[in-house]
Every structure is written in C-alpha cells, then in structure tokens.
Symmetry: D2
Subunit: 348 residues, 4 copies
C-alpha cells in the first residue's frame, strides 16, 4: 500500500482521480488539499463519493504531502511548478496532470501560457507521461508530466503514421471535439448548459495551448531526417460531459508505397493495454470509452485517394487526464499497469 | 465460481448486466442468448465490452442454459414465463428482470399486460426481489422477480412512512421521471433523440403497468389494519440516458404525532448497503448515482405543513434493473451482497 | 408605432423580449440599457440578433427612458422598484417582468425576497399581468407585474378547478420542472452543462419564491367561502434550455358531482388565444410550445379515482416571461393581442 | 396568393416547411400528401401546428397536386423522380428538397444512390437551388433541386476561395458535424436518444452521398483552368437536434499572394440576405442560426501558416433544407427573397 496525496482535488480531474483511486488495490489516499475548500468533507462536495471516502480537504502543506509516496497535481497550470521542488527534495514522486512540465522548451511554455515559468530547472528532468511512447522512462521518473487531453487523442491517432514517415508532415490537420468537462469546473457564462447544449462551435482556431505540445510529441517520434511535424489544430466544443474525438487528416507521401494501414495500426498498439484498434470500417464513438481509460482508433483511406483519415476517441477525464495519471503511477510503482483501471465503459 | 446464463442480452438491461458480471469475482458468464443475434459476437454489438468478454450470442437452448447455476432473464415480459419451468425442473435458479412474476395476482397481471400468463403455477413461489424488504426470502429463493425501476424508487421512498402508518394511504402521489433507457432499445420514433431531447413530457397518466406493482409492494409492508395504499402515479420522460427520480407526496395523518422524519429514514436504512439517506435539506440528483447500485433519498416537510415530500433517485439500469439483479444473485449465492457492485458513480 | 425601452436586456428574458419586439409591427425599440455592458452593440452579445437590431446598450437613464411609451424591466428583482416611480411620474407605462410588484402583501414580499421593498406605495396599483384572469384591468394599467414562469404554468393548470371550487384546496400539489434558462444567465457552477446535463434534481423543496405568488393568484379567483388554496410546490431542474411542465394533483371534493372535466377546461379557455386544451388523453410536451407564447393543457382522472391530474406546458421564456410581457403590452396599447406573437413553435 | 402542395410532409423537412409556409404572406398551403398517414390531421402528428393549419394528409394524387402553382417534394430520394414528370406536364413548378435532381451526371447518381434514376431526361433541366450561385437561373426554373444540408454549408464556406482559385483544390478537407434531424424521422436504433446523446462519432468516412454533390458544386464555380476540386469529406453526428457546422481546411497556393481574406468573404456575400460573415476572430455557433435561414461564416489563418480554416454554420432543416426551398420559391415567384424567412434565431 502506497500513500498518495492530491493537490487541488476540487475540479473534475480531481474527482475523477478519486473515483479511480478509492478502488485501487495498492493505494491509500492520505491527503487531499484545496485552499478554497479546506475543512469541507470531500464527499460533501462530490456526493458520488459518499461511502467511498472519508477525507476532508486540507490546506496545501508540504509536511503533510511529504508523508506521501506520490503526489498528484490536479491544479490549473502555474500551481505545480511552485510546490514541486520542495516535495521532490523530500523524495516525493510527482505526477502532474497540469500543463506545467509538458513542454521542454521553457520559452515556448512562457509564450503560450503567458507567464514566467516558476521552476525551469526541473523541466528537463520531467518525463512526458504518455506510456505508449515513454513507458521505460516513466518507470523510474521522479516527475511525470501527464499529457493534455487533446494531445493524447491526437498523438495516439498520428503516431503510427509519423513514426513510419508515411505522410506529409508539413500539413497535419487535427480536427478535434471535446466534451464540456474539458473546460473544467469554473463558473463561466460560456459553459452554462443554456449556452452550449443543443449547439456546437469551434474555438481557439487561431491557436490553442495544446498545439505546441502535439507538435513536440510528434517530432520526438519522427525518424531522423523527416520533415518536422506541423499541425493545424482546431478544437470544437461538444454539448456532452465527457469524451474527445480527434479526426485527423494526413496526406500520404507516396500512395503506392503505403503499407496495409489497418495492420500498421494493429501492430503498433498490439501490446498496449489501453489502445484498441477497431476492425476496418468501424467508426469509434466517444460513448464506447465513457468512464474508461481506453483509446479506440480507426483508420480510413476514403475513395482510395491520398488523404488518410484517422479517428481516435478517449474519455478526456480518464485517458485524457486522471486515468492516464493512474496508469503512470502504476508504471512508476511497479503495479500491474491496469490496476484500478479495469473499467468497463458505461454504455448506454 | 458459479456459471450464469443470460437470456435476451441485446437490450440495455442485458448490456448493463454484462458490465457488472464481467468484473464480478465469483461469476463466470457462460451463455448469452439472443434469437435475433445468434452468431454475433457480443462485443460487436456492444463495443464497450471489447476486451472484457469473448462470447457469442446463441439461440436460447434449455440444455445449454441448464448447465448454469443461475439464469437471468433480461427479456420483454412474456418470455421468461415460457422458459422458466423447464429450467427450474433442472434445478437452475432464476432471476427474472422482466415483469412476468412481479404481481402475485395473476388476474391483475393479465389485465395490465394484456395477455394470458403462461406459467401461473410458479407465481406464488416467486420472491419479489427487493432486498430492502425481502432479503431472507431471497436467500433461498428458486425464482426471484426483480422489481421494476419505478417501483424500486417509489417503494424505497415510501416504505418508512407506510411501514409506520404515518400518512394517509388513500392518497399517495408518486410523480416520477425516468431517463430514456427506461423505454428500452427499441426502434421507435417516439424515442429518437430528435423527438425527446430538449423536451419533457408525462406519459401513461391514465395508468402505467408499474402502478399495481407499487401498490402491491406497499400493501405487503403496511401494519395490519392500515388503510390499503392507493397510489396516483404519473411517469415522465427525461431527456437523459440513465436515472430515475421519484418525488413522492403524502399527507401526514397527524402532524403532531410525527416522529423525527430524518431519523426515521436514517434508521430504516442504516444497515442497507445500497440506500443512502442524505443529510437534512440536501436534494438528491440522478447524476450522483449514475452507473451505481445506490438509491439516495431525502425527506422534506415544506412550510411545516402536513404534506410530506420524499425524493429518491436511482440509476434505472442498475438499482432499477441489472444491479439489483446482481444484488439478488449475491444474496442467493452467499456472496458478499456488494460483490461486483462496489461501483463509484461516474460524476461528472 | 410606439417607442419602447428595455432595462436590463443582457439576460435571457431580455434577449427573448428583443427576439419578439424586433418583429412586432407596432413597436420601435428605442432604448436598451445595461449598466455592465453600456457601449456594447446588442448584436455583439447576442449574435442571433445580427441584422435585426442596430442598437447599443446604454446606461440606465430616466430621461432617455422617459421618451418611451412603454418600458420593460427584464432585471433581477430589486431593480425595478427603484426606477419605476420616476418613470411613472413622467407618464411612462411599465411592464415589469421581474418579481418586484407581483405580491400584494409587501410583508410577504420582504419575507420571501429577503430585502426591504423600495416602492411599497405602488404595489396596490400594480396589475398582475395574467391576461387569462386580468385582461380588463391590464388594458388601462400603468404598471403591470408579469407573473413568474412557474406561477403562469401552475395557475393556468389549476384555474378551472379552483374557480369552480371542485377540489380540496387544502392540499394542492404542484410538481413542476423547468429548463435551465429559468435560472438565468449567471456564471454559477450549479448551472454548468457539466453539472446539470444528463441529470435531474428537485430544488428548493422547503420553499420557493413562486409559492406565495401561486397561492395569491389562486385565492383571488376562488369563489367566496371556498377554503383558501394551500399549495405544496416542488420545482425540479430539467437538462433542457426552455420549457416548463407543471403536473398538478388535486383531490375532488365530490367525485359524483364532477362535471365533464374536458369540457370544463375547453370552455374556460375557449376564447384565450394562447391557451390550448389538448384532446382527451393527449399528454403535452414542452417541445410543442418551444419559442411560442402558447400554454398547452391536459386533464386526467387516473383510474377514475378521486385524484385529478392536470398538466400544463409553456416556454418559460415566452409565455413564462417575455412573450407574456408582449401580450400585456398588446392589451395595454390596443394592438391585436397576438401581434408579434404569431409564433409557430420550433419542432423538432 | 399562390397555391402550394407538399408531397411527403411527415418528415422533419416537411414539418419545417409547414412552419415557414403557414406564416408566408403570399402562399396558401392547399395539399399535403402522405401515403402512410392519409386521413390524419397534420396537427395531430405535429401538435406544434395546432391552430396554424387545418389540413389533413391525403394520398398523393396528380390531379389534386396539379391545382397547385408549386409543389415541394420533402420525400426520401427516389420518390420525386417518379411524380415530377406528370406534374411538370401540367405546368406545375417543382421544388425538390430530396436528392433526385442534384447531380448532373446520372451515372454518378445511380452509383451513389444505388438505384436506376427514374427520370434522367429532366436532370439537365433541373436548376441547382443554391441562390448564392444560381439566382438568375432559379428565377425561371421549372424544376429546382435544392442542395443537401452538408453541401450548402460546405459550398458557402469554400466558394470565395475556390472562385478566386486561391487554394490547392486537390486537397480540400471538409470536416462537418450535423444534428440528428439530418438523419430524418426514421425509427432506427442508431438514432435513439439513448444511443447518440452524450456521445459523438464520425460516420460514412469512406464515402457519403453528399461528396459528389459538393465536388460538382465547387467545380462549376472554379475559374477555367483551375485544378478540379477534390474533397475529403467526413461527417460527424452531433447530439443536438438542429444545426450543421462545416470546418473546412484548404492550403493556400501562394501565401504571399493571398488577399485580405476577411474582405474577400465580406465582399463575396455583401448582397446575400442569408449569409453573414462574422467579424474577424469570431467563431460561429450553430445556436445563433437555430430556426433561421442564415448561414454564418468565419475565416481563419492560424499561426499565419499556409493552411486556411473556414467555418460555416446553418440550421440543417432551414437553410439546409426547407428554408432554402422557400427562398427558392420566393425567387421563382417574384416574392421578396426574404418573405416568410425573416426569422430571428431562437437563442438561447
């Protein structure tokens, strides 16, 4: 039994992390902090946890958190970078679900996030927590930066093509759509049911913070000499609670040299416990992964032309955030990688 | 490890039962029948089960089903009554999620269901599978008739008042609302998203089949001499997938003699693993039980007048159908009553 | 052409009022005020109005508003009462969509709204703007207090029974459910799509501000000597944008003396342009009134017992607020009562 | 006053057409046919029309329809082609909302629609009813083929770029998403609320019937010598009732030679009553066109790279079907083009 702490568990990634951890066989949740809600029982904020958890939010406190083996950060960006160094000094291992340590280029981070990075010295050590590419590094990592939700869906869709250098990297198009939990649990008019249900829209077409993360992730997996991945990324807002779909368009460099794409995807993910390549011709649906850590993927070559279409779906709160964080914890701690994550999606 | 079979698993109660059983520690799902889909892999119909279940629908067959310890019926009414006798003769225990054996009065059944009952001789033996009232009888039952979804919510809301004879039984009002899975997985225009989303309506106000079941259930729990429960029951259709709320109105017989209602409810359900009485003043929400077997209840006495209001919420597919069926199985087979049912609701 | 002004048009009743008024043949919208958004083009806040309206929000200003024949208040309660006296002194007629002048008993108002009333001297003059009961008084009114959304649905459902003294007034039960626009356009976590979609709940069971308004409205229509109406009112929140359903339960005083209820309702509303009594046995649906000023009503007597059930549906923003306000304006100004309100509901 | 008939008004395009026509100042709806529902009052099927329409469905009958000036077909494909010749012989003008006469190449039609065309001799005469490209031809047309919903959104998004030959036509990507009314009012499990709400998916990625229509429409507008438009089109299903968004990606042929794109779009549509080019940087939302005939468009050039992104939104039942049909009728009959179409979108 390891002890874990969670900083900032009042948001949706926090409650999702608790949903997973309270049933994890190797974990005891010891500390849950929230500056705003200190003193409140967690189950009073989230009645879904009544009977499963008997903890109270406490003020973030380095001493209390240092008694944990692992501390998760389920905070907005900008918070983890200030607390992480003190905890790592006391040998706590960190799994950061926020964006603080995802980009290796601190200048780029500061440009996209509009603030000075509080802990640039740890950026190089941080391991990008996408097990499908970095499993071995994660195993021994002291600090794991969990991928964003869109980057998880987008990279899993594109990796087999990019790793094999089969497509024109200069023009990768990622059309993605996310459920409203992607915007967090913030009191904003824009996220009211009355504003976004029975409707659909794109947003941030001129530039979303997940764009540089996706490009970084793809570029690190390209074979040497390949043209660096350049992505057009347009996110859309779905009137659903959970779920992301990425629909990705890439142009084959040489249609005559294309391998069997279905086999390429099947082989690439054959050993991955949380990536499911659908039978040829099947379209994924977000509801088939609701509440689970699975990513389902399908690849198409419409009209046998040269534009390939790949679709991936994940639950943005699970594989896109807290589930992937637990998967990383399992790898770091030597648990079975699926421990606590054997979740049958809720359908219907 | 017991072996279980499921007759008619193509509907929503079927896939929900599978979601629960594939992770149940004491159960092996051995047979899944569907006349219409025989030969199809179950996971091809329900992609949420990909990786969890490697079975194929087969034709209903008494021999194959007889090799099971327990057979669940997740069929429309009228099916179980024809297959059950042959299976019981071969010592298979039956858990019927359909309506076939819920009403003790066969005439009443035939009147409400508009057909002749195919197996009246087993009606008397059937145990009504509401563990909160019939746990001991369920333990040794050969045939359990699982309650309907509305009757589960309505009875759990009213039982403490009715058992204590505190309210005017001649005028119990049950205003209930259900998610659309309550109507099953049938190709009907009335259940299209385009017909029922962003809308609300009552239906069957002149009489719904769950009315006699609710009255029967309440009357069996009334103290001797009490006026027989008479219910006005109006169901409504919610544009949601899962969830039922019953809002129940009952008039106190004697307001001056009312006990502490919050304490009454808390005590009545103190030992029940799946009934959660909310703190005074809290309103239940269906989302706090989504995907779980829990019923949450709250009691109010508005304006300190003589009309009491009780609200209960359940997931209609879980506590209202397949979860309760598994709870019954656990009791029948001597498993821990919560085995396979330690489900944290998915919230948000 | 009359000139109208709107105070506080940034909320949902404001934009709904504009949707109706920009197409009204007898009206010119001259002034739209908003303290918070002064200087912003109205169509920038509500792109649905692009091309229909070329006005800018201005600071509330008595001089500017006094140039109008009619001023609507689409403000939270507590605002109109401070501005109305100055405007009335300048002979502006007022249609208040807020709650400020609905209750004749100022003490009751102060108790339910938790503040001192700023203009008690005008309360007696205010006409309650339910045309189906007060048409003649509205015609010459200087100050009309538009009914709340729930009270509109509830009173229209109950009036024929109460006016004829057919039911036990001591125990009227109003179970109502509203779309989320009922909560307004406020940045609150409770109203996020992620909190309320795919879910259902009751709220304010211990007392909602519309309760005294409903009781007042019913009591004013009772025949002399009848027991004063006493209401149990439980509102619920629907995961839809627009629409209210009231499902009302009332016990017949004497079942043997009941008239033909279908005929009673049909006759009561035969001359009402915005009340539609459905054919016997039909259940209303909120979607059949979406975007329109119509109230549809159905009456049932389940099992031929003594509890009657009446259902009414309205669009809470139209007949429940801004549409009714326009209907009142039409009556006050001598327009055809349906002018600008010949709205075919949007279905599907 | 002209007389119009509607063949096949039981579907969603039919009821939408009625919503528009019953308030059209120059039209009398004289005949509404439905083989399946002959004898039923239209308002009994669509209660939203109660009080607006007093007609009954009749069997399709050439004599009765021939008394009309205009007959609309709101039928599935394959129906109009069999009735149209007889009606045109009697000088009835036809507006076909179905797909029967959209493709000029009958072989292509037969390949995509999987059946023999019943009336190839009229295909050449049919005018493609997109007023933004074909207004003059529509004026005198005897047979107008209304565009599909996706093709309307896609072409309006792409026309300014394609007409000016600014982008690489060999690789136009149309990622589109539609509300569920796009699938019609058919009793299919796939369209149940329980199957598609709170979820998202792509469909028909390998080829959708609107693909050849989009390519045909674009190619007819290209300047001579331009490479023929080749489209990758992936439709997605939104859990909403009405609305389509097309998000279109096209690569600039020469970024240095690009004109001011915002101005290009503004000028192209300056005279169009139903196309609204949003201010630079604004993203369209489907809800801002709900129930209206407007298409809103926005153009982006993310990161100032060479991939352009254009978004368009329409109400698929209005501008995407029945509203556009009425717009065509207005042009054909010399009415004001906006007659009966001055619809303020319902927001929220």
């Amino acid at each position: 039994m390891i002890k874990v702490g969670i900083v900032g568990a009042t948001g949706y990634t926090g409650v999702e992390l608790l949903r997973l951890l309270v049933r994890h066989p190797g974990v005891q949740v010891a500390v849950i902090t929230s500056r705003a809600e200190a003193g409140m029982a967690v189950a009073d904020m989230y009645p879904s946890l009544r009977g499963f958890l008997d903890l109270t939010f406490t003020e973030p406190d380095v001493d209390a958190l240092s008694a944990c083996d692992i501390v998760f950060f389920a905070t907005p960006h900008g918070v983890a970078q200030n607390l992480v160094p003190a905890l790592m000094q006391r040998n706590v291992r960190i799994i950061d679900i926020s964006a603080d340590f995802r980009l290796r280029d601190t200048d780029l981070w500061e440009q996209w996030y509009g603030q000075t990075h509080g802990c640039p010295e740890l950026v190089a050590e941080a391991v990008y927590g996408l097990p499908e590419t970095n499993r071995e590094q994660i195993r021994s990592a002291r600090l794991v930066a969990c991928p964003g939700c869109y980057p998880t869906a987008a990279q899993l869709a594109l990796l087999p093509l990019v790793e094999s250098n089969l497509v024109d990297n200069s023009n990768l198009i990622i059309n993605a759509a996310s459920g409203a939990t992607g915007a967090g649990r913030q009191a904003k008019v824009d996220n009211l049911l009355t504003e976004i249900s029975d409707s659909f829209k794109a947003y941030a077409a001129n530039g979303h913070r997940h764009l540089p993360e996706i490009e970084q992730g793809l570029r690190e997996r390209q074979p040497e000499g390949a043209e660096p991945a350049q992505v057009t990324f347009v996110p859309h807002l779905l009137p659903i609670i959970r779920g992301i779909q990425a629909t990705v368009y890439a142009r084959a460099l040489d249609v005559d040299a294309l391998p069997d794409l279905q086999a390429l995807y099947a082989q690439r993910y054959a050993q991955e416990p949380f990536v499911d390549v659908l039978p040829a011709g099947e379209h994924p649906q977000t509801r088939t992964v609701k509440g689970s850590n699975t990513c389902r993927i399908a690849i198409f070559r419409p009209q046998q032309r040269d534009t390939l279409v790949v679709m991936s779906v994940i639950d943005n709160l699970t594989k896109g955030a807290s589930g992937q964080a637990v998967q990383n914890m399992n790898i770091m701690c030597g648990f079975d990688e699926t421990a606590g994550l054997d979740l049958v999606p809720i359908l219907p």
